[in-house]
Symmetry: C2
């Protein structure tokens, strides 16, 4: 997974609120049938309150408005009262759908509006039982061997050409690493690949296995710049086809083997295990399996790196994102990620949180996406265009507000004492 | 806590093995009553097997020997068969006691022998249910307000003069940081303090709260080199007395306030929360409380650091260490440490594992401890001298073999975007 968000807004209290709102809607509509504007205002206030009363104005097209309590940074307009009522019945799913089909519009900077919503609705110090209750209601599409194939196909096989419009030259669809905030997207993606290679301290002649390789960029980078052999696994047919063609074109097919298969079928022994942006699709239940495979791959001086979107605490994925963008995906908290390492006595050496880098990466993707608008429209309908805009803008907001994290975790087998004395080598 | 180990040997299967051994001892003693040497050999083989058959020779004084299957790196001798039987009935506790009172002696390098035992008995790929079963039997002394005071008094109030013999000039009783492996102990302790201050990015005029301050070294360092005000908490009466005297002598009493109180009673607001080497005494049950206090202390741009001994997976503390050295102590796995941060939406920014640094720190402490032998003997009896040697040597082995870890965790409030873009500032 490259960039999910918690959706427009965090998905807690989903069922609970939806039910009480629907009930109240009926009662209130009856009571105030003579006063449509007053009903609209009441509905809009429910919506604002549901979102934590962000500094946003809410309106029904050609009808009532509700001002924000503080200076508004934007306006959200619903096409009709019926639409507003429909959204209130299942907001976490339907806000996204309504934005996509144009029955919900946003005036003002979309990212800023989404950031305001994230800030207003952050969990902050809310008790963890509330979060746990929300987690229990979360049922995502299973990541069985077959389920994973379907889930990955849904997102990654919609067209290499589409992705090439806005991912930059590297075709890396994961968080970049900006040595300075002014680095370009391509510079930052290249810096990320070096950062990863240095973290696992690749040496010429070594072998690497990569679990989830996207369009194959990192594997080629490792082979070219570090002189290693790479076996790279991916279950996206389109990505593997692209990667193989690229390796052949760049004369690296002898060093890099792309395998169209599931990470659960990785075999062999390697000096390093690397997985950048796959964990979000693995599912917490499968973490011990992933760890077992990493442990089995590595000898006593083995090193590994897992790079993943994560969270400050366990929480369900926003339903709209889970349904429309990333079926089966889940960004874990560190306590959950631990289940990769702890059953196998793998030693966590280094965790780096790069969430501000992902916000910046997503800003760059969003800019390129908007600039490619004509070409995207030639490929897909307007609904798709808006849906992906919302996904990218919402992801910027999720990372910039600290709703989502990006963890790079370096690990090693427990008895590996061939470790660098400090991390200074990453910065020279 | 400064340095615990998993004991001589890891403490799993404690009760289970003790029971089966005791039973077998009785049966075998009856069967082979005519052949004392054969009985000794059988008992020694049980002991070797219990320890995972390390490359060590086992012997009864003036009696039988059992050779190691590979080239031995040392010999463990039991004073008598009776002593050997007694140890086999409860090895994880009694090996330490027997070493302390001299009824178990070690020929060869003590650290190397202990490292061999650690390596032979590591859990490796053993299933996690075995570890979980062992965890369930773990009952340590409670860390209530009163319990913590007793636990801390047991270890830290045995005499400032004693500690000053082997901790070096800094009197820092926590893992040092060696920018290069050849750094001296004092250089490395000073580098550790700078490393911590840089990680929380102290700026002149800021305020810091320190939970668990030992003899006050870090608080003075922060005040002197970073121009901050510090409130430092500790429940060890002797340490606080020493720290206050030192602050006055060094003219820093106006900047550093030492408070003889429990971390649970910390109040006020600060720019940074720092805790180096206290978490081992907090107890997992109290982690959410510690996190709540850290969260409450910090404003929206707050930063924090927790430095603690840890593990690759949850496991009970070795019983001898828990009973004789560190009552109530527990080094957590990262999944357990997460319970400090996750309930309060605190964001983990950086985790660094410094276990090789702690092995080196402990080697330096052990050297100084042995060099101060005469003066230690003038303070304590021979049993104490051997007990502390075993604790220090065992701790070197625990860290050098990867049985224990040292985690430095940097965290921040979730919405803090005033973060350094990279970690390069730590290395310039």
């Amino acid at each position: 997974m490259s960039a999910s968000d918690e959706g427009l807004i965090s998905g807690r209290k989903h069922n609970e609120s939806a039910r009480s709102v629907a009930q109240s809607v009926a009662e209130t509509a009856a009571q105030e049938s003579g006063d449509a504007r007053s009903t609209d205002r009441w509905l809009l206030k429910r919506m604002s309150s549901f979102l934590g009363d962000p500094p946003i104005e809410f309106a029904v097209r050609g009808g009532a408005r509700v001002r924000a309590t503080s200076a508004p940074i934007g306006r959200v307009t619903f096409a009709s009262r019926a639409m507003l009522v429909s959204i209130l019945a299942d907001p976490w799913l339907r806000i996204g759908d309504a934005y996509s089909d144009g029955s919900l519009t946003v005036d003002g900077d979309l990212v800023a509006v989404l950031e305001a919503v994230y800030r207003a609705s952050t969990m902050g110090d809310k008790p963890s039982w509330l979060r746990r209750a929300a987690d229990l209601t979360h049922r995502s599409r299973a990541n069985t061997l077959r389920g994973s194939r379907d889930n990955i196909h849904h997102h990654y096989d919609i067209g290499n050409e589409f992705y090439s419009l806005w991912l930059g030259d590297t075709m890396a669809y994961t968080c970049a690493y900006y040595p300075t905030p002014t680095a370009t997207l391509d510079e930052a993606q290249t810096a990320k690949m070096h950062h990863v290679c240095r973290k696992v301290r690749l040496k010429a002649g070594e072998s690497v296995v990569e679990a989830g390789c996207g369009w194959g960029t990192l594997a080629l980078h490792m082979a070219r710049h570090y002189g290693v052999r790479v076996r790279a696994f991916n279950i996206s047919h389109q990505q593997i086809a692209y990667a193989r063609e690229r390796a052949a074109r760049e004369g690296l097919a002898g060093q890099v083997e792309y395998v169209e298969d599931d990470y659960r079928n990785i075999s062999g022994h390697y000096d390093a295990f690397v997985s950048v942006g796959m964990l979000e699709h693995v599912g917490v239940k499968n973490y011990p399996t992933l760890g077992r495979i990493a442990r089995r791959c590595l000898g006593s001086n083995g090193r590994g790196l897992i790079h993943s979107i994560g969270r400050n605490h366990p929480a369900r994925l926003q339903p709209w994102i889970e349904k429309r963008i990333f079926p089966g995906a889940y960004p874990p908290a560190l306590s959950e990620m631990s289940q990769i390492f702890e059953p196998w006595d793998l030693s966590v050496l280094d965790v780096e949180n790069l969430r501000l880098h992902y916000a910046q990466t997503l800003r760059h993707w969003l800019e390129l996406y908007e600039a490619a608008g004509q070409r995207v429209r030639a490929m897909f309908d307007e609904k798709f265009v808006r849906m992906w805009r919302l996904y990218l803008a919402g992801s910027v907001a999720a990372f910039s507000t600290g709703t989502l994290q990006l963890f790079q975790v370096v690990f090693a087998t427990a008895d590996n004492n061939d470790l660098p004395w400090t991390r200074a080598h990453l910065y020279t």
